[in-house]
């Protein structure tokens, strides 16, 4: 891994602008700040360099998924601002619904490509198992969010999905609390609770990636490169 032509790889260790006070200071705020500085200093959150082996288009699937999510949320906000009936009665509304629909398709498309990439890179190595697990939780939560979205369309599709899906929910017992025939409940989950959940999880996921950095390549002899 040591490249003869390696240039200086690491910056000088970051020092605080002033000498940090003793840990026994007792300040929760100080301890919190020190913890953040340890876990995710600014130059790890926004590094301007990456290891030289970050040189494949597979690496962009994550950020493109984020981009798609941004447009899902933006178009969703516009739709929610004018109410769930708007897009049926207005051609501008229909256009924003189309943006929302295709952004969701792109979101899932790129998220699954990102999953495939991370799987074949075994991205969970070297202490990154939690990052992988959060990713799977994001996947499942996104599916649930999309599901409530399909139920909120106020058209034939949402009718049939509701009538059909209730059997799965009821069979599993959750139908007693999660009533897919109750538009108000599904809509509220879709525009508020679940998007907050997905966004929060995505932020945690990104923080974890930036905190640890991208995983090293699988070592030639089969073990993770030390």
């Amino acid at each position: 891994m040591l490249d003869q032509k390696a240039v200086v790889t690491q910056p000088a260790p970051k020092t605080a602008a002033s000498t940090p006070p003793a840990a026994s200071d007792g300040s929760w705020t100080l301890r919190t700040r020190q913890w953040v500085d340890r876990v995710l200093p600014m130059d790890h959150l926004l590094p301007h360099r990456q290891p030289y082996y970050v040189g494949s288009w597979v690496y962009v699937f994550g950020v493109v998924t984020i981009a798609a999510l941004v447009w899902v949320v933006v178009s969703g906000v516009v739709l929610s601002f004018l109410g769930p009936q708007w897009w049926h009665d207005s051609s501008l509304g229909r256009f924003f619904n189309s943006l929302h629909f295709w952004s969701v398709q792109l979101f899932f498309l790129f998220m699954v490509l990102h999953l495939w990439g991370q799987y074949f890179m075994a991205g969970w190595r070297d202490g990154r198992a939690a990052t992988w697990m959060i990713g799977v939780v994001i996947f499942a939560t996104s599916i649930l969010t999309a599901f409530t979205g399909y139920l909120s369309q106020l058209n034939f599709d949402s009718q049939f999905i509701a009538i059909n899906a209730k059997d799965a929910m009821n069979g599993a017992g959750v139908g007693a609390f999660f009533n897919v025939l109750n538009f108000g409940q599904m809509y509220g989950l879709h525009v508020m609770l679940l998007p907050i959940g997905v966004t929060f999880l995505v932020v945690v996921h990104i923080v974890m990636v930036r905190s640890r950095g991208v995983v090293k390549p699988i070592a030639p002899e089969g073990r993770s490169a030390k």
Partner: protein, 46 residues
Amino acid sequence: MDAPAQYFDLGFIHISYPNLFVIVLMVVLFAIALVAPFPHGSDKDA
């Protein structure tokens, strides 16, 4: 676009052509991402 889609059948698989297109597209995009050259950052420390 509201007319029902055509379906592709193979054994027990029964999939709409739009869905099949999406899945094939994903596999193709992944394959391209694996082999396409990626613009390299400068080797010198910035």
